[in-house]
């Protein structure tokens, strides 16, 4: 309903006020639901996908690619260890069952979220970088602040900073849709129904390579994301993604 995060003081949030502090409503319900569903789905997709990769750990560019063709990335044996795969021992058929079932839990909510966040302007309002924010000086400043582990406080903590915006936009609007489309491009039935899938990625093996590269991009995002949650205060950060309510860090003196 509200266009801006609802600022409530501690008493309105029915919490005992040990010290003056602000609780802000930062994440709406659809965002929270989608976040936790994805936390499950993306892990299942990554780990079952890595098992599928184990079946033929060679990547190619172009329409075709098999053992005698030139690969740009190639491993011997089954390179992905059991702790990173579903299931934990080699089983391509089972991994495909997991991957192709959980894919629905990734795709349908993703499409719903994309459509909803464009209609209710969450994307334009909270995720799209402003012109000021994409200035190199501003980005560089944020990078330096992050490197010093100085995170935004006060009102600034209620908005996504530019590094957050860029990474969330990259994940939500680029990486995840690319994962889905390259995944569909690898399906022989989909490639017959929607031949443009092969054209936009330059062939099935190119689509497979892009699928893998995007999966590695998502993995990198998850690692940095979890690291930032730990550094920024895991209780408050995780709590806010559960309840929506965020304890605003007080402004520091400079």
């Amino acid at each position: 309903m509200d266009e801006d995060p609802v600022i409530a003081d501690a008493q309105e949030a029915e919490l005992p006020p040990p010290q003056p502090r602000r609780i802000a409503y930062r994440h709406r319900l659809p965002t929270r639901l989608w976040h936790w569903l994805n936390a499950l789905t993306v892990f299942v997709m990554l780990m079952s996908g890595l098992m599928i990769f184990n079946a033929h750990p060679h990547l190619y560019w172009g329409q075709y690619g098999a053992n005698f063709d030139h690969s740009w990335l190639s491993f011997k044996g089954r390179p992905i260890p059991g702790w990173a795969t579903i299931p934990s021992t080699y089983n391509l058929a089972a991994a495909r069952r997991w991957h192709l079932a959980f894919a629905w839990l990734l795709v349908v909510p993703l499409v719903l979220f994309l459509v909803t966040s464009l209609i209710n302007r969450h994307a334009q309002r909270d995720l799209a970088p402003t012109r000021d924010e994409v200035r190199p000086r501003h980005i560089w400043h944020d990078i330096r602040e992050h490197a010093r582990l100085r995170f935004p406080a006060g009102d600034a903590a209620l908005r996504y900073n530019i590094l957050q915006k860029l990474s969330y936009v990259a994940v939500i609007f680029i990486l995840l849709p690319l994962m889905v489309l390259t995944g569909l491009a690898m399906s022989p039935a989909m490639a017959a129904a929607w031949p443009w899938l092969l054209d936009i990625f330059g062939g099935r093996q190119s689509a497979r390579s892009i699928h893998f590269i995007c999966a590695m991009g998502l993995t990198a995002f998850i690692i940095v994301h979890l690291l930032m949650v730990l550094l920024a205060g895991p209780v408050n950060e995780i709590g806010s993604m559960i309840t929506g309510r965020f304890r605003v860090p007080p402004e520091r003196g400079r």
Partner: protein, 248 residues
Amino acid sequence: MIGRRRFIATGASGLLLGGCDRLNNSPRFRDVLRSAEKLNLASQRLISPRDALAREYGEADLSPIFRSNGTRVPGTAEYAQHMAEQFANWRLTVDGLVARPLSIPLKTLRSLPHRTQITRHDCVEGWSAIGKWHGVQLSRILDHAGLSTRAKYIVFHCADRFGDKPYYESVDLIDAFHPQTIIAWGMNGHLLPVPNGAPLRLRVERQLGYKHAKYIERIEAVDSLANVHGGKGGYWEDNADYEWYAGI
């Protein structure tokens, strides 16, 4: 000291993995995962025109080497005999729910009007190879045999064995009558080589490689897959839980 964080991380991933493996071994959960196969089939069929063609490529796109997979030479004495005779006495049997059961000599089959198509072969493992195939449309054979209205699936019985089990595969009538579904006798301008399924193999271009049965000796029309071998419609489906619908 390993450290508490490391201990917790190892424990958490162990729990997660143990949980996934336990779920994977639970028949009920496997059934839930399996239900996605029907969803995938139904949704792909919903958005696909019935005769949507798989991409056909040009000569320049052919894989320099079209690798073989699975059986490279069927190990039976009968097949060795056929190989020695250069398949001169190979016949394709067509039976089951048909009005006119057939036994077509290979030579006759090769003299029928044929289709040539350069298509991509996608293995379930992930690799792809492009080859040129020459063969008779399955629809032509089925029309000749007079398919019963009770028939729902076409089963392909093969000459190769995995252990003591014969290889076989099956498709439904939508794929059986698809214009690119052919019983191929040739590849890349030559008769089909033994590693690629001589003398006859299936091409069903909108599905993955394991559906493309090699060394076909018999085509059977059935109303249900339940009574064919393990009942799941194919060797890999019966023995390794691969999906019967391999369009994705």
